[in-house]
Amino acid sequence: MEGPILELRDVGKRFGPLTAVRDVSFSVEKGEIIALLGPSGCGKTTTLRMIAGFLQPDEGRIRIAGCDMARVPPYERNIGLVFQDYALFPHLSVEQNIAYGLRQRGVEQNKVSVRVREMIDLVRLRGYEAQRPTLLSGGQQQRVALARAIAIAPELMLLDEPLSALDAKLRQELRFELKRILLTARCTAIVVTHDQEEAMSLADRVIVMDGGRILQEGAPTAVYSRPASREVAELIGRANWFEGEVGNLVDGYREFLSPDGPLLISDRPDLAGHSCRLCVRPERLMILGETSANDRLNIIKGTVTTVAHLGSAIHYEIQLPSGRVVLVFEQNRDQPLPGVGTPVRLSFRPGDGVLIPEDAPVVR
């Protein structure tokens, strides 16, 4: 197995007094799809632009396929870029857009035609070859942008918020399409996004960034269910928080003393006696039926204050005795809906609580 396709080591970038990116290190193996996830201004776009060669890092090294990229201009890096606004050339047809990179590389005409046809088939745009991109829908433009980038057979694809310009429904459809295309073309790709669903559904590995640093990195499910810090938990998914202190061991579980009563969670001996926050994802909180047994752990009483029926799911806001309002997501299974003002009992499994120390260090 050869080395990583992309390697960033201690990369930093400043804009005047502002540090946009600092100490960013990660690598991407061949065939991997990575998501750089973070809020706007977190440094993810700056990182992307440094990898693409539009910006020079002030510190650190960027290597592509083992070669240092310090003096290599964007047009000599073999990187396929998909821009947030697609950046299709409005004066060229779909076909000419896709052929652009090949033409710049001096590929001979009949090979260009073959490759363009291949790309058209890959992104399923037969019949649109002669169209101007401005006449296409957002989803079609997106696919042209993908085809244009993949056509040059880049070592690495960089996708900047690839789905953010589309409306919600199209976004969901295209997420699968995008994944299919990236997998079919065997792309190594970095997807920059602020949308955790996009990150989780597309990527094999998620790198969560904020304030120019990497907060956490790992498989999407791991980052989601085991966030290392409050920031990460908030950036990827929604979270309910309980403040309190980690107590004794009870029946093999660790006791967490919250204002809403003692809660039992999977053991973390290292945190015994610490002030912590306990994170419980909204979908891991269950509303117990009236008849359900009382032998459950972690029963919390509360009152429903808001019910939002979203069709496939139901979102509740439930006020706890401490005054804290928690969010609960339930799938719509045609269950009876507790109305506003109804007293309910909530529960969660000990394994679903994630402890985060108050002074959580930045995890890299």
Binding site: P74, Y75, F83, D85, A87, F89, H91, Q104
Partner: protein, 261 residues
């Protein structure tokens, strides 16, 4: 409101209408308005007047060369300006647009001093220099406006696809701003053709523009040939404006951006 508009239209249109009517006056002398009979005599006189025709030739040649040069320089300068850092960009843009607010008289006089110092005594070159200075701001203004309409991500896309900066300019930037370039050239042509103030300073007995010839004619022997020439110049300008409107939409040229896909 309505009265204001009527007054403005009257002020703009009535003198022009009178000029047009008088240019077709069949009388041999400058008689009172309106002309009793019409003829194209003044136009014939213009086309057979060597002095004026020489001016016309110089004017057209100047307009073509200065519009071409101003546009070429404008493209180069606009592309360079776009690559400057923000602060410098505004300063240089302001500098390049400065001739717009400097009176033509000043431009002409300053250039005259400069030519004398630099030893440039070719009359046509003197005029050409002045016309390039006068028309350059018009060219660069429309080209910059067009350039500002080109999303930077398009250039980044071209670079990422393997085009170097020069190739990106040729294959993406220039095709996208071609409307702005043509508009800039038309503007430059029109303003070169119309200029009197600077040309007055830079003309000599052998190299003079049509407007300069008209001015000296007004001093020497005032007749309606001037009206005929004025009408012809109006015609040319009207055609240019129409072309500009067809090409890009006048509102967009006068407004912010001339970017068109």
């Amino acid at each position: 409101m309505t009265a204001t508009i009527v007054a403005i239209i009257a002020l703009l249109v009535v003198p022009l209408a009178i000029t047009v009517a008088m240019s077709f006056d069949a009388r041999e002398y400058l008689g009172p308005f309106p002309p009793a009979r019409l003829s194209v005599g003044w136009y014939q006189r213009f086309f057979s007047d060597d002095y004026l025709m020489h001016g016309l030739r110089t004017s057209l040649l100047l307009a073509v060369i200065s519009a071409t040069s101003a546009t070429t320089l404008g493209i180069a300068a606009a592309l360079a300006i776009k690559r400057l850092p923000k602060g410098a960009r505004d300063a240089v843009t302001a500098l390049f647009l400065a001739p717009l607010i400097v009176p033509g008289v000043v431009v002409g006089f300053a250039l005259l001093l400069f030519y004398a110092r630099a030893g440039i005594d070719n009359g046509f070159l003197r005029l050409l220099g002045g016309h390039v200075v006068i028309t350059f701001p018009y060219a660069i203004r429309t080209i910059l406006a067009a350039l500002n309409g080109v999303p930077p991500s398009l250039i980044d896309a071209a670079l990422s696809l393997g085009a170097n900066h020069r190739r990106a300019v040729w294959t993406v930037t220039l095709p996208l701003i071609r409307t702005g370039i043509v508009a800039g050239a038309i503007f430059a042509f029109a303003f070169s053709l119309d200029d009197v103030a600077a040309s007055l300073f830079l003309s000599d007995p052998h190299n003079y523009t049509l407007p300069v010839a008209l001015v000296s004619m007004m001093h020497a022997n005032f007749d309606l040939t001037i009206a005929a020439v004025a009408v012809l110049l109006m015609g040319v300008t009207a055609v240019l404006m129409l072309a500009l409107d067809r090409l890009a939409g006048l509102d967009r040229i006068v407004g912010a951006s001339v970017y068109r896909a």
